[in-house]
């Protein structure tokens, strides 16, 4: 089994208007291996995957699959029929159908649906993979993580030869990731070739056998995992030797303690209808703090309550000691609070508008729609922040949807920075973006704090929080269970606080 070549992509070329997304890229997958596909955003990973799955047609190149020369893949259906299954980062299932249907639709040839058989088959698989969902449940009523696992269950059930996992872990918590890895190893043992795309380096080193690195649409190389230490992988992805990650916090002031000046923002017994317990919270000028906890512990809900994004049910909010009423995002914005939401696709970006329009959007809302900015003003704002945040875009007029994920994130960040907020809330600003941009954003957070902005930063990666925050609020089961600062800011302290041990 080992070492037989399963899939060969040779000299793949793909251009979009204005972008040469893939240039002469080779990729080889052997059966029974887990192969990581790595690269920064915009490196061409997604494009390569989409060529392989028939979403895009390649301009040039050859795909050989399982001994068949030059297979034609024109649609996702073709790919499925050839035994290529894909689980995408964004859920690509239909929320209005049942779990079982989502697992079986678009497969097989039978014109009639046998519901009973489909449901019992689906239930069997769900049980086997230990997925907490019923076959007859409407998919939209499942949590995102469960939906993702249903997508994986579908792929697993298709007897695929090649399984593509495109950032499947970004919405899963640790347990679920472990479960997924177990599943991947089982599949690997049966000879399936798995292509694994992820931004989490730990995960790559935990499950993968080989790594292929792409950069700027070109192949950098293919490596055995044992031959490529982390630092080298990162430098290959970035195309430069990287300055030490752990160094960026060095010149940040330590948390000043309770007797420092008056808090910029202070909330007592704040709670919202999103199901969090009332909590107290404050932040001082120039402070960077963060909410941490497991996925679903209520960290996002807490900052949403601060911003008024969910319906606030009670609590007293003070800014600079004066009581204010924040009933909705607009009140929060008026009080100088800005919020960068977790899910940029849903809550943030308007894909068809240009970079410029997306950047000035919030400021325009505050100014009022009947007093538009002049074109010159708008361009000035946009250009300033494109430069400041190093946003990679063809021009200020490019539609945002054609930018890579990390750059979209920067556009939203620019939108809020333009408001010159006193207090900036960043909910998972680094999720699903590449290492280089992650560091850019972390650095930016620290710089802004130095200029006097107060920032709350949330990330699922604790390293990142430890590097940027001077105080961490720990949450468990929708309740604040602890606060860490100074010397307590260590990985193990966070873990034990989350776990609730001594």
């Amino acid at each position: 089994m080992e070492n037989t070549t399963l899939l060969e992509m040779r000299s793949i070329d793909k251009s979009f208007p204005g972008v040469h997304a893939l240039q002469n890229v080779d990729f080889t997958l052997r059966s029974g291996e887990i192969h990581a596909l790595m690269g920064e955003n915009g490196a061409g990973k997604s494009t390569l995957i989409k060529v392989l799955t028939g979403v895009y047609s390649k301009d040039q190149g050859v795909i050989n699959l399982d001994g068949r020369f030059d297979v034609k893949i024109h649609s996702p259906q073709d790919a499925q029929n050839l035994g290529i299954s894909t689980v995408y980062q964004e859920i690509t299932l239909c929320p209005n159908l049942t779990v079982a249907e989502n697992m079986y639709i678009g497969r097989g040839k039978k014109p009639i649906t046998n519901w009973r058989k489909m449901n019992s088959d689906a239930d069997k698989i769900l049980r086997k993979l230990d997925i907490p969902a019923r076959a007859t449940q409407q998919l939209g009523t499942c949590s995102i993580a469960v939906q993702q696992m249903v997508a994986i269950a579908r792929a697993v059930d298709m007897d695929c030869k090649v399984l593509i996992l495109d950032e499947p872990t970004s919405s899963l918590d640790e347990q679920e990731v472990e479960k997924l890895f177990g599943l991947m190893r089982d599949l690997k043992a049966t000879g399936v070739g798995i292509i694994f795309v992820t931004h989490f380096l730990d995960q790559v080193y935990e499950v993968c056998d080989r790594i292929t690195v792409l950069r700027d649409g070109q192949l950098v190389g293919e490596y055995e995992i044992k031959d490529l230490p982390r630092v080298q992988l990162v430098s290959k992805m970035l195309g430069k030797e990287m300055d030490d990650l752990s160094d960026i916090k060095s010149d940040q002031d330590a948390y000043l303690g309770e007797d420092a000046d008056e808090p910029v923002y202070e909330a007592t017994q704040l709670w919202s209808d999103a199901g969090i317990k009332p909590f107290d919270f404050h932040i001082r000028k120039g402070e960077v703090n963060g909410f941490t906890g497991l996925l679903g512990s209520g960290r996002s809900e807490s900052v949403r309550a601060i911003f008024g994004a969910d319906r606030v049910l009670g609590g007293i909010v003070r800014m600079h000691g004066r009581q204010v009423h924040i009933r909705g995002p607009k009140d929060a914005m008026k009080n100088g609070i800005a919020y960068l939401p977790e899910d940029r696709k849903i809550d943030g970006i308007i894909g068809d508008l240009s970079v410029r329009e997306n950047i000035i959007l919030a400021l325009q809302v505050m100014k009022g729609f009947f007093k538009p900015f002049t074109k010159a003003q708008a361009y000035a704002f946009a250009d300033e922040y494109i430069k400041k945040l190093n946003i990679k875009t063809a021009s200020a007029d490019t539609p945002v949807k054609s930018l890579s994920g990390g750059n979209q994130q920067k556009v939203i960040l620019a939108r809020w920075l333009l408001m010159h907020p006193e207090y900036l809330i960043l909910d998972e600003p680094t999720r699903g973006i590449d290492v280089g941009t992650k560091i850019d954003i972390q650095k930016l957070v620290l710089e802004l704090a130095k200029d006097g902005m107060s920032i709350t930063f949330i990330s699922s990666e604790t390293d990142e929080m430890l590097r940027t925050c001077s105080r961490l609020i720990v949450m468990r089961d929708r309740k604040v269970v602890g606060e860490l600062s100074g010397e307590d800011l260590t990985q193990s302290m966070i873990m034990s606080t989350i776990a609730g041990g001594e």
Binding site: V55, C94, P132, A274
Partner: protein, 348 residues
């Protein structure tokens, strides 16, 4: 939120489609019971319900087609025009050779016209990616225009075979009533009602049990996802329009069978009634949710309210319009409240 725990409760177990369907059925029954209690008279007799069916068989058929395109996330506003065109063409054809046109051929004409509209509009929408609203708006104007070209004046049919078919009444056993003289008057339905009910049953089965039917829901739910799941999105969209066109043709014939004439002003606004019925029946304009059984009840609710309004002595067109508007609002309100409540319940 505990992600690993199953969320139970009947409320959360049913799908959006079934939830909306049950709301519609319950409201319809309450409304009808209310009419029997407070208005009495006609509503007490089962024939009232059958009359509603007789008068609305064509609407049931076209509304079913409408639901189908709406479930697929599209829309077809040409159906009223197609119904008028079908009536006119059939009327003119049956009159040829001294009122001797063949009834069966006229049926084929009706289905052919509907199919042609469905295919052309489907091609434009699915394969050329033109907005369905625009395409079918053009289709509507075209159909209305063609109707007038065929004949500007209304056209009454005098064809024996057709009249026989038109006047065929199917008695419903046990549902009749006695008149003042104690004479038993049997309850009856027209042929169109049987056709309409058959359409509802067949479409229900197609939507629930066939690969194609489920593809309609998938495409309406999330087109991009459906594509990724291996559904042929273009073909599915195309077929939804073909089905809708065909049903508009069939509905047109049933309409023609009920009124027995062709006129350019026939079925004015029928597409809007079809859309309203679908929505009342729990089909969402956003696609992916809906059911033809709901549509049947949607049509019944709509015409029952019209009957209630006229029985209550408010027999003017604007009253009917206003009540329908109010009813649409109430239905949509209930739908959105229920769906929102449920989302909120699931969040916890």
């Amino acid at each position: 939120m505990n992600k690993t725990k199953l969320k139970g409760g009947i409320f959360n177990r049913v799908s959006d489609t079934n939830l909306l369907l049950s709301i519609t059925v319950v409201i319809f029954i309450l409304m009808y019971l209310g009419a029997i209690i407070f208005l009495g008279s006609g509503f007490k007799k089962p024939q009232m319900l059958f009359n509603i069916l007789n008068a609305n068989a064509a609407l049931i058929i076209t509304a079913c087609g409408m639901s189908l395109v709406m479930i697929s996330g599209s829309i077809d506003i040409s159906v009223g025009g197609v119904v008028a065109l079908v009536s006119m063409c059939c009327a003119v054809y049956l009159d040829v050779n001294h009122h001797n046109g063949n009834v069966y051929v006229s049926m084929l004409i009706a289905l052919g016209i509907g199919l042609a509209f469905g295919i052309i509009q489907g091609l434009l929408v699915a394969y050329l990616n033109i907005q369905p609203f625009i395409v079918t708006l053009a289709g509507m104007f075209f159909a209305r225009g063609m109707t007038t070209i065929v004949s500007t004046a209304p056209f009454n049919v005098k064809n024996q075979a057709f009249d026989k078919l038109k006047l065929t009444r199917i008695n419903v056993p046990g549902m009749g009533s006695y008149n003042k003289k104690g004479l038993y008057i049997p309850a009856y339905v027209e042929i169109g009602v049987l056709v309409a009910l058959a359409v509802v049953v067949i479409l229900f089965l197609v939507l629930r049990y066939t690969r194609l039917g489920r593809a309609f829901y998938a495409v309406g739910g999330n087109q991009q996802s459906a594509l990724m799941l291996g559904v042929n999105v273009k073909r599915t969209k195309f077929l939804s329009h073909v089905f809708c066109g065909l049903l508009a043709g069939l509905g047109g014939y049933v309409y023609f069978l009920h009124v027995g004439s062709g006129a350019a002003s026939h079925a004015t606004g029928m597409e809007m009634n079809a859309i309203a019925s679908s929505i009342i029946g729990g089909t969402m304009l956003t696609g992916g949710v809906g059911n033809v059984v709901g549509t049947l009840f949607g049509v019944l609710s709509l015409s029952t309210i019209q009957n209630i309004v006229s029985s209550a002595g408010l027999d003017q067109a604007w009253w009917t319009g206003i009540t329908i508007a109010a009813m649409l609002c109430i239905f949509l309100l209930i739908q959105s409240i229920v769906i929102r409540q449920r989302k909120r319940a699931l969040k916890r």
